[in-house]
C-alpha cells in the first residue's frame, strides 16, 4: 500500500513537472515560430513608422542603459553601506525595505514617476522612463552587492587593514575585486529584467514611431510598442509585435545566459 501511494505521488509529481514544461515549451515554440516567420533583417534598418523596429530597439537600450548608469553605482554603494559600514538596525531596515521595493508593483513605480517627473515637466519623456527603470533596478543591485560581499572572507579585509589601508580603500580595492564576478552576474540579470519591463514605461516614456535621441520627448520603447501593436486589429501590426517579442526574448535570454556563463567559468 505504502509503495503504491509512493508510486502514485511520484507519478503525479513527474506529471506536473511535464505539464509545467509543456506550457513553457509551448510559449517558446509559439514565439519562435511566429517571431521567425515575421522576422526580417530590414527590421533593424527601418524605424517603426516604416514598418521596422530600429528606433524601438535603440530606444529600449538607451532607456535601460541610462537606468543602469544611474542605478548600478547608487545600488552598489548602498549595498556596500549595508554590508560594510552599516551597524545593526538601520542597515537591516534598509535591507528589508530594499527587498520590499524589489517586489513593489512596477506599475506603481510608473505612477510615482508620472506624478513626480512627468506632471511637473509637462509631458512624457525618455528621462522619466529611464528614472522609472532605475528605481526598478536599484533594489536588485543592492541585494546582489549585499549578498556577494557577504561571501568575501573576513581575512581579506583584515589583511588589507593590517597593511595600513583605510577602510574605503580596502572595500574598493580588495573586497569589491574579490566579489567582482558575482556582482557583475547580478547586474547583468538586473539589466535583463529591466530591459523587458513594460508597465513602468507606459506613462513615463510612452513610445514613439520615430528615431530620436532627445530624452526630453516621448521616447521609443520596444516593450510599450509591442503592447500597442499587439492590440491593433491589422494582421501586419501583430506580426510586427511577434517579431519584436522574439527579438526581445532572445536579447533577454542572451544577457541572462551570459551572466550565468560568467559565474560558471569562475567556479570551474
Amino acid at each position: 500500500m505504502r509503495l503504491i501511494v509512493n508510486k502514485i505521488v511520484l507519478g503525479l509529481s513527474i506529471f506536473s513537472a511535464l505539464i509545467g514544461l509543456a506550457f513553457l515549451g509551448w510559449i517558446l515554440v509559439t514565439l519562435f515560430i511566429k517571431g521567425l516567420s515575421s522576422f526580417h533583417f530590414s527590421l533593424f534598418v527601418n524605424d517603426l513608422i516604416d514598418g521596422g523596429l530600429r528606433n524601438l530597439i535603440v530606444g529600449q537600450f538607451i532607456l535601460a542603459g541610462i537606468a543602469a548608469v544611474i542605478g548600478i553605482p547608487i545600488g552598489m554603494v548602498a549595498g556596500i553601506y549595508i554590508r560594510e559600514y552599516g551597524n545593526g538596525t538601520y542597515a537591516n531596515i534598509i535591507r528589508n525595505l530594499s527587498d520590499i521595493m524589489m517586489s513593489a508593483p512596477s506599475i506603481v513605480i510608473g505612477a510615482f514617476v508620472y506624478a513626480v517627473i512627468v506632471v511637473p515637466t509637462g509631458g512624457t519623456s525618455g528621462f522619466a522612463g529611464a528614472i522609472a527603470l532605475a528605481i526598478m533596478m536599484l533594489p536588485i543591485v543592492i541585494n546582489t552587492t549585499d549578498n556577494m560581499l557577504s561571501l568575501v572572507p573576513k581575512e581579506l579585509r583584515e589583511a588589507g587593514i593590517a597593511l595600513g589601508a583605510s577602510k574605503y580603500k580596502v572595500i574598493l580595492d580588495i573586497v569589491i575585486k574579490a566579489a567582482k564576478v558575482g556582482i557583475m552576474t547580478g547586474i547583468l540579470l538586473a539589466f535583463a529584467r529591466i530591459i523587458g519591463e513594460t508597465a513602468p514605461l507606459l506613462f513615463t516614456s510612452e513610445t514613439s514611431n520615430y528615431f530620436t535621441l532627445d530624452l526630453t520627448q516621448s521616447f521609443p520603447s520596444l516593450t510599450v510598442s509591442i503592447y500597442d501593436l499587439a492590440n491593433e486589429p491589422e494582421e501586419s501590426s501583430r506580426d510586427l509585435a511577434w517579431a519584436a517579442s522574439f527579438i526581445l526574448t532572445v536579447l533577454v535570454l542572451f544577457i541572462n545566459l551570459t551572466g550565468r556563463f560568467i559565474t560558471r567559468n569562475k567556479k570551474n
Binding site: 513593489a104 577602510k167 535570454l253
Partner: protein, 327 residues
C-alpha cells in the same frame, strides 16, 4: 576621503527609504482628491466613471445612470466617453436643473485583482510543488540541472510575452473548453499562473534543497519511501521557506500588469461568472491613465495607493515569516 565615501554610501542606502516614503506620500497626495470625495466607500463601490444625479429639481427623482463603460474593450475609447459624460452633464444641468457628478469606485478592479491572483495561485501551486519535488528529489542530477536552468530562464521572460501568447494561443483553447469569452477572469488568472509558475517552482526547490541530507538518509535507512521522506521530512523542514516563497509569488501576481492586461477584458463590470471579463488594478491604471484627468486620475492613484499598501503588507508579512524561520 574615508569620511566622504562613508557619507556617500549612507546617503545611497537611505535613498531606498526616501524613494519608498516618496512613493507612499506621492500616491497618497495624488489620490487625496478622490479619497476626500469618496472616502473608504471607494473600496466597496462598484461604479466607475458613472454620471449620477445627486440633486434633481425636476419632478422625477431617480438616480439615472448615464454613461456606462460596458462592452468598451478598447482603452482608446475612454476619453471619448469622458467627453460624452461632460457634455451630457452640461446639458442635463442646463436643461432640467439636475446636478450631476461623476463617481468612481474601486470595487471592480480590487475584486478583479484578488480573483485573478487567487486563480493563478490555485492553478500554479500544485504544479509548482510538483516541479520542485521533481527537481529536488526525483530527477537525477544530470536531468535536474538543465531543467532547473530552463525553469529559471523562463522566469526571466518578459511578462508581455506571456500576455501575447495567452491572448492569441491559450485563451481560445480555454474558451472552447469552458465556454464564455476569450478575455476573462479565468484566462487572465491562468496565464498569470503560468507566469508565476517558474518563479514559484525555482524558489520552492531552493527551500527544499536546504533540507540536510542526513535527515533524509536517516529516514530512508528506516525504510521510508520517497513520498514519506518528502511528506514527513522535507515538507516539515522547509515549510516556512515554501510558504514564504508562495507569498512572494502572490505579491508578484498582485502587481502584474502586462500578462493580465491582454486577457482580462478591461471593463469595469463585476464578473458574474469565472469566464466573464472584468478588470484589475494594474490594468485599470495601464489602460486609463493616459486619458484620465482630474478626479478620474486621482481615483486611479487611489487604486495605485491601495495596490501599493496591499503588496507592501503581503511582502512584509512574507519577509518576516521567512526571517523568523531562518533564525
Amino acid at each position: 576621503m574615508e569620511k566622504i565615501f562613508q557619507k556617500l554610501s549612507l546617503a545611497s542606502a537611505s535613498l531606498v527609504f526616501v524613494i519608498l516614503l516618496g512613493i507612499f506620500i506621492t500616491l497618497f497626495n495624488s489620490a487625496k482628491p478622490a479619497i476626500d470625495e469618496f472616502g473608504l466607500d471607494f473600496i466597496v463601490n462598484p461604479a466607475w466613471n458613472k454620471e449620477v444625479v445627486v440633486e434633481d429639481n425636476s419632478a422625477k427623482v431617480k438616480p439615472t445612470v448615464v454613461a456606462d463603460d460596458e462592452a468598451v474593450m478598447d482603452e482608446g475609447d475612454d476619453d471619448l466617453l469622458d467627453e460624452d459624460d461632460d457634455m451630457i452633464a452640461d446639458e442635463d444641468s442646463e436643461d432640467s436643473s439636475k446636478i450631476t457628478k461623476t463617481i468612481y469606485g474601486g470595487l471592480v478592479p480590487i475584486v478583479g485583482t484578488l480573483l485573478t491572483t487567487l486563480i493563478a495561485l490555485v492553478f500554479a501551486l500544485p504544479i509548482a510543488m510538483g516541479i520542485a519535488v521533481f527537481l529536488a528529489e526525483i530527477a537525477p542530477k544530470n536531468i535536474a540541472y538543465p531543467i532547473g536552468i530552463a525553469i529559471e530562464l523562463l522566469a526571466a521572460i518578459p511578462s508581455i510575452i506571456f500576455g501575447m501568447w495567452g491572448l492569441y494561443y491559450f485563451a481560445p483553447i480555454v474558451a472552447d473548453l469552458v465556454g464564455g469569452y476569450q478575455v476573462s477572469l479565468l484566462t487572465a488568472g491562468l496565464v498569470l499562473g503560468v507566469m508565476i509558475l517558474p518563479f514559484m517552482a525555482a524558489i520552492t526547490r531552493d527551500s527544499m534543497n536546504t533540507t540536510p541530507d542526513v535527515l533524509k538518509e536517516s529516514a530512508y535507512a528506516m525504510g521510508a519511501t520517497k513520498f514519506e521522506v518528502i511528506k514527513d521530512i522535507i515538507f516539515p523542514f522547509s515549510k516556512v521557506g515554501i510558504i514564504g516563497s508562495i507569498i512572494l509569488a502572490l505579491g508578484r501576481a498582485l502587481g502584474e500588469t502586462m500578462a493580465v492586461a491582454f486577457l482580462i477584458g478591461s471593463i469595469f463590470v463585476l464578473p458574474e461568472a469565472i469566464n466573464d471579463p472584468t478588470i484589475s488594478i494594474p490594468v485599470a491604471m495601464a489602460n486609463n491613465f493616459g486619458e484620465a484627468s482630474g478626479l478620474g486620475e486621482s481615483a486611479l492613484f487611489y487604486l495605485a495607493f491601495i495596490l501599493f499598501i496591499i503588496s507592501f503588507a503581503v511582502i512584509t508579512f512574507a519577509k518576516f515569516y521567512f526571517l523568523k524561520g531562518k533564525k
